[in-house]
Symmetry: C2
Subunit: 182 residues, 2 copies
DNA sequence: GCTGCGCATTAACCCGGGTTAACGCCAATG
DNA sequence: CATTGGCGTTAACCCGGGTTAATGCGCAGC
């Protein structure tokens, strides 16, 4: 069976207005979600209330907390809609056990997980080896659409810096760009 | 088929002295390696020659560059032995296609990838939300053995800071620990 | 149309980490 | 035994980002 076929057969469609949570850090949520329409943000909340953004989820992408859905612990992060959104929710265990019966589905699962792993590795490398300014410019190059749909403070929290720091980086970058006529 | 069975049947055993590379950033290496004995370090080399450490690989763990083995690009990082080591090398494509024929193997692959994904997510969270000092203390708590086997400069590069900065953190931590009688 | 709120900008000040360099230690090598 | 080189420590200086606060803007709600 195809991956999308599985999701369409087993998923419950959920519509959410902007600013609504899909799940919250600490919840026990065994579901995984496919985003059909809209835009989500996945973020961590530190003990002192500081927010840092793990990722933005675009149409067609998958989201769910492995810690909760797979390991049966609690969600390690929260997911909230930034725009009115529609998700398909399905049970992780249903997918997991279907993979034990259906080798095509297992193959699709492996491809998804390989792609996911590479994405996480790339982000790990960026955080480990590149400066905030470098990451900012790389993000503009890689996902310019994002800047149309996401507040600057969320971009900053995604880059791992404060909105104030991002504003300064933009100031520096823009000055340089003007200076270079670029 | 079991995962280890697959590796034992298809793997070539390779013995390496300390300081030897398993593969280098930029290589086209389609293999994946299981570490039998020894200790490996996976690291990135930036354009200017700066080294940052992606991970340490302990006995029983898996290592390989998804970019090269799966995506057929070049390795995004290098792997070198820190101690005399023995690895089992096997072809990623052989595993990948065996997963299409053998549903048990596919299941094992899925478990491995889920665990790997969670590990990468945890590291991403640490880099994004925690200070270098916090990460240092967490590492002591989580992997005290590592400090017996790895030079302090490599610990520093793993934490994403310079050896000098780590020395300062230790100085601060130790002073605090003595002050607290802890 | 007014009010209030959240956001982006800017400035001032602080602090942690980078850089460079000096020093001492130890292990490997001759 | 003397030399060499890598490592960890410490100090001095610089810089990027955090924090706080003031300002101005745009938008939602009344």
């Amino acid at each position: 069976m195809d991956f999308l076929t599985f999701v369409e057969r087993n998923g419950r469609r959920i519509a959410l207005p902007a600013g609504e949570h899909v799940f919250r850090q600490g919840d026990e949520d065994r579901s995984v979600y496919v985003l059909e329409q809209g835009l989500l943000k996945a973020y961590y909340l530190s003990g002192d209330g500081r927010e840092t953004i793990k990722s933005f989820i675009l149409e067609g992408e998958l989201i769910g907390s492995l810690a909760s859905a797979w390991r049966k612990e609690t969600c390690s992060f929260s997911v909230v809609t930034l725009e009115p959104s529609s998700v398909l929710a399905f049970d992780f265990d249903a997918l997991h056990s279907a993979c034990r019966r259906d080798i095509d589905l297992a193959g699709a699962m492996i491809e998804h997980l390989l792609a996911f792993s590479m994405k996480k590795e790339r982000r790990e490398r960026e955080l480990l080896t590149e400066s905030a300014e470098h990451r900012y410019r790389a993000l503009i190059a890689a996902s310019p659409e994002l800047f149309e749909r996401v507040r600057q403070k969320d971009i900053a929290r995604y880059l791992g810096i404060t909105p104030v720091a991002l504003s300064r980086i933009r100031q520096r970058s823009d000055a340089r760009a003007v200076g270079e006529g670029d």
